[in-house]
Amino acid sequence: MSVPKDKWDWEITSQTSYWGAGLRELWSFRHLLEGLVKRNFLLRYQQTILGPFWILFPPLLTLVTYVLVFGKLVGISTGTLPPVLFYFAGIILWSFFNDCFTGTATTFRDNVHLFSKVYFPRIIIPLSVIHTQLYNFLIQFLLMLLLVAYYWFFQGLRLSLSITILWFPVVLLATALLALGMGLFFSVLTAKYRDMSYVINLGVRLLMYVTPVIYPLSAVPEKVRWLVQLNPLSPLFEAFRLSLLGEGTVSAWQLAYSILFSAVFFGASLLLFNKQGDKLIDVV
């Protein structure tokens, strides 16, 4: 009855692994990832009149609100930048982070019908969410470039292209990693405890107020600035504005802190996600 183990291609035991599916296995499911991204797009705009334009309306509407409420009414300084550009940069990066995080934080709960019927590497689902949001972000980013162009030609805005533009992809990647890391971490929790989804909704709204989305870091009083700076998202937002609009308060150290935090948190969450993924299906 004893068969040499190398005779078998695969083995299923009670052991769960931290490492999850190997890269080769993930690669074999690349078409699934692609298909899911396409599906996410199709589903979102099925039977809507304006279709993909809905990617652009929410940030524009938020922009109008922010300009009116925080710009005109409350009068928060946006430095030397036009409020429209300042807010819009914050809005699109925040909505990217927000949608990535909340979209992946209920992975197990939302896909239990799928996970309980067929096997594929579970990480594919959150990856497809990030992928979809990345496309959304890029479309919104194009709109932002149009706004910049408008201010350039008609309002006399002068931006100088500097080396900091290279931070843009780094910031985007770090934001995605942090959002995915948090999403994976909370997806394990929401699978077990339904209460967590309320915590997430509330928490993410509060998080926005300690992130320089509607205000520049420089406008934060010295006494509480450390609180905002502790938030690993803050340097990312400042660096994002610095790289695109040339204004932001961020040091290389702070940025390094954010990137390191994002990477470590993502790594730990990924291990947890892999380890728990196989067991959670009994629980969800």
């Binding site: 299923i12 298909g35 067929v118 096997y119 629980v283």
Partner: protein
């Protein structure tokens, strides 16, 4: 000699009821606090003292020490009643849930079809769903593209391929979903109860396709079904699971027969020693009723071929009376199949006995019960012995490749002539 492609070794699966996933964070914290910090047992979930050692009352073995091998190209059926662990076993082999102990080893690509329409989304069109469902089931883009036309043709939805599936009839939906799965090309295909859906015509198509997959293409199939005929014809070997344990493994016909025999709720006879305890009234007391199946084959199952003899004996306390006995056969739904009256017999006090044989190849498959009626002077009821015998008639179809429930209350084999003459026939223009 065929190679082993799957090896299942001592698989057990323990489900905990309650201890995890109780739903609220507070309860879990409390549980954790009590168990690890205070070193006490959980106050909510007590161990049952009467439970076997090692198993708490809130735990259930969905599977217990199941081991078997499947050879390359073999199709293996899994039978058992609801809750016997069939689906859990398939889920473990498909990598969806982890076993508690034991191991499954295998070679090659596994595709599992545990439900029809996995990954389908009602908002998307048929075309989009074919792709996404194909990917989810483990195909790559080129494979789906190559099979696309075949899938559409098999499901017969050509005109609707670009319509959202929410506008499909449920039949079309199921056909399309199965078509995608049927065109998978894994080394091992795992199928759970997909035949329970869809119309008769489609079921036939599915079974035909599965037979093709297993026999012509030499793929290995693990197949769970409640359709015993399908298991019998489609599978080489079968496993019988009961309450998580493997009761039987062997050639599918033998296992299926044993399983069916265990399901038959038979009451094939009742006997009373003295008139005092016997059912009846002051005129009649029954001594014995009996159903004797004349089973020709060894497995002892009453099937549609089996002649059945009904025997009865009763004490008669009526003097000089003409009696007749009726045998009323009901289907389990309570429909009367027939009411058979004996000729009248002029009886004295004493024992009356009789028998009647229901020929083989007469009843359709199903569950039946029999009521005996006694009447005097042709029409005056004396006594009815209600539901005194009950039995199941199993299906038997030698080589008929037709799997649905056979229609009709009875299934007699009357002489039937069908001939073919060599004559030229031409359709008029």
């Amino acid at each position: 000699m065929a190679d082993k492609i799957i090896q299942v070794e001592n698989i057990s699966k323990l489900y905990r009821l309650g201890t995890i996933g109780t739903g609220s964070f507070r309860q879990d914290l409390q549980w954790w606090w009590n168990l690890y910090v205070r070193g006490r047992k959980d106050p909510f979930f007590h161990l049952d003292k009467t439970a076997p050692p090692g198993i708490a009352a809130d735990q259930i073995w969905a599977l217990r020490d199941v081991s078997f091998d499947v050879k390359q190209g073999e199709s293996m059926g899994i039978v058992g009643s609801n809750g016997s662990g069939k689906s859990t076993l398939l889920k473990i082999i498909s990598r969806i849930v982890k076993p508690t102990t034991g191991a499954v080893r295998g070679r090659g690509k596994v595709s599992s079809l545990l439900e029809v329409g996995t990954g389908f989304n009602k908002e998307l069109t048929g075309r989009e769903n074919i792709y996404i469902s194909g990917y989810i089931l483990g195909m790559n883009k080129a494979e789906v593209a190559a099979k696309f036309d075949e899938i559409v043709a098999f499901s017969g939805i050509e005109e609707f391929v670009d319509t959202p599936v929410k506008r499909y009839s449920s039949g079309m939906y199921v056909r399309l979903a199965f078509a995608v799965a049927a065109h998978l090309e894994p080394d091992i295909l795992i199928v759970d109860e997909v035949l329970a859906v869809g119309d008769a015509d489609f079921q036939k198509k599915c079974l035909g396709k599965m037979r093709e997959v297993s026999q012509a293409e030499g793929r290995t199939i693990l197949f769970v079904s409640h359709n015993m005929q399908a298991v019998n014809t489609l599978c080489d070997r079968a496993i019988w699971l009961n309450k998580g344990q493997m009761l039987e493994m062997g050639p599918s016909s033998a296992v299926v027969n044993k399983y069916i025999a265990s399901l038959q709720k038979l009451q094939l006879g009742q006997k009373w020693e003295t008139p005092q305890e016997a059912p009846g009234n002051k005129f009649i007391r029954f001594k014995q009723v009996e159903l004797i199946p004349h089973v020709e084959h060894s497995d002892g199952i009453i099937d549609v071929r089996t002649p059945l003899t009904v025997k009865f004996q009763f004490w008669n306390m009526l003097e000089e009376m003409s009696l007749n006995v009726g045998i009323v056969l009901y289907s389990y739904t309570g429909d009367c199949i027939f009411d058979l009256l004996s000729p009248a017999l002029h009886c004295h006090t004493g024992m009356v006995e009789g028998e009647c044989t229901i020929p083989g190849n007469f009843l359709n498959d199903g569950s039946y019960y029999i009521t005996l009626t006694i009447a005097k002077e042709a029409s005056i009821p004396v006594y009815n012995l209600d539901e005194c015998l009950s039995f199941d008639v199993e299906d038997y179809r030698a080589d008929i490749c037709y799997f649905e429930k056979w229609w009709g209350a009875v299934r007699p084999k009357f002489p039937f002539r069908l001939e073919n003459h060599q004559e030229v026939c031409q359709l008029s223009r």
